[in-house]
Amino acid sequence: MSTTTYRTCPRSGLQFESQAEKLMLANAVAAVVFLLIGGILAIGVVLTRWPAIHWLEADTFYQVLTAHGIDMLIFWIIFFEIAVLYFCSSTLLRCRLATPRWAWAAFVLMLVGAIMNNVAVYEGGSSVMMTSYVPMMAAPSFYLGLILFAVGALIGCFVFLGTLVVAKRDKTYQGSVPLVTFGAITACIIAVFTIVSGAIILIPTYLMSLGIVKSVDPLIYRTIWWAFGHSSQQINVAAHISIWYAVAAIAFGAKPMSERVSRGAFLLYILFLQLASAHHLLADPGVSTAWKVVNTSYFMYFAVLASMIHGLTIPGAMEVAQRAKGYNKGLFEWLRKAPWGNPVFSGVFISIIGFGFLGGISGVMMGTEQLNMIIHNTIYVPGHFHATVVIGTTLSFMALTYFLIPVLFKREMIAPKAAQWQPYLFGFSMYGFVLVMMGAGTLGVSRRHWDMAFNGAALAYEWPGAAYLMMGLVGIFGIAAIAGGAIYIYVTVGSLLWGKPLDAGTPSKTFTPIPRTAPTVVAQSYGSAGFAAPGTFVLAMVFLVSFILYYFINWKYLSQVWGLS
């Protein structure tokens, strides 16, 4: 226990414990490797769905799509999230990491599981998509890989919780944990629920693939699997929103507008966010209307309320900090004078806007019980979740990485110009990508479909020309986004390998506790109409009006289809 050392980063003032630092590095590097694999697979997916190119054969396409989904949605994101959890506990609370040996065991289990699952998919015979709906079966190692990975991630969650205990016991901080750590605790609680749900359904399915269990009910599988599949995306939401708060603090020195509001919103997540796995069962048989309505709306949209709160308070905190620095002219000087050339900030801001306008609004549409019928399993669905998981989570992680390169990796960033442009190229091409996917989905184009021309079908359907046009644009935007992802990997891996080493700060045998924070004066002397962040409020109103209009447009669209009862 006493063998560990602490260093204070001279560039950020953050204190890193050596064990935690190595683990963060290992998890982050593993994450980036899976992002690289997933990104290469993405080339196959978009070039096949681009109708004019239609590159891969059907079997290869489904294989590549399965691996792309799992590598991106599970392995890239959860490896990175484990690094974020260690950062939010050990680094932000300035304490040692609890049980580093268990943390390494977790890492090894996750890595072995991820590789095993990938190998199962590449061997063929496990092209079952990420969802692996029974009775379609994959190889046993496909499920075993996922189970090992999940067990590893669960251990990682408990290491995080243990680290909180260490910090409390060693009195490394006073009062409550920082807001960002609070958000990470939210993510961790959701993660534990998620992983346990995954185990409940994947273990019997694994036994079924071995022939030990005779059958798993397809509807029960869908119900429990989504408590894992959807909830894992809710971990992302809690994690990347924590990162947004962190970046607002790092880039602007912004403090939360109100601790009560922001923490209250995280509490709403813990209480209601998990209900959303019902979104995937709205078009299913056998589930009652009351169950669907209560769950799909997160019990009266309380988790949507929470997201709308974060969507205001994060840019709001940035605005307040900017106004305090004197950028006080008009509604938007604070935003114009923001550090747009800093990829840590620009990445997060592009992420916030895209997550809210594209991911958030489309998610509520799909999650409305009746509107789901005009969206379920169309390519609108991947359009939505690329807005949430790629623009929301992945882009936030990328932005955070640019901060971590000098701070955690202790390297000077290679190609800073490329890094400066990367969030714009990646973010805006993803904006285009998800918009055309949603457009094609509105016309009914199916997701997970090899050939929209229905080659070889006895009764083919002719999609409208606009659907073909939009699927072509999916290809073009997709390739642009992949190029943006490649720049990220080049800058990150390149900096790690060839970046000029930077001063790490002197190691010390003991930690330096966080000094007591001085109470702040709450009264604001800037802003207008009694609003501390009037510019953000205007942006929020633009959001609300777009949301309302688009919501009712979809109802109008639904009211024109066949009567169903």
Partner: protein, 179 residues
Amino acid sequence: MSAILPPAERLWWKHPLDRVEGTWILLALIWCLTMFAMMVGWHIYGKQNLSTETYKTTPEKFTAKAQAFVDKYTVRTETADKTPVVAPPPGSDIYMVARLWSFWPILELEKDKTYRLHLTSMDYNHGFSLQPANINIQIVPGYEHVVTVTPNKAGTYSVVCNEYCGINHHSMVGRIYVK
């Protein structure tokens, strides 16, 4: 006090909120409750609500019912496989079987008439994606889902499978005529 440091006030839940936050929370809450009311209200006033009538079934049981239905109401056959085209009377129970990789049979319905459509799968999950109307329903094996449908426009409709079901998933397309 910043988001990455402990809050200065020990009792953070007493931290006052700014007017901009209070106003926004109120507006957002009203909108959330409106959306909830809309979803409930559509069940009362709307005409597109997915039925939840469901029975456990087996491929044998469902095939027997579907076969009887086809034998009774077939008017002609289409395509090289001689897929029956079935024209049931309005108001009746109608059947569609989803299996690797086809929908069976072809249905011929009348506009503005109501039918009880029975859906199930013989094997994997499939998707009932009615185009160009764009109505999408999940088909789960072992479960017979009875959906009441009222076509509101004449024409030739396709049923595209939009749940991945294996190598020939892309060729799984059925048909419904509405006269």
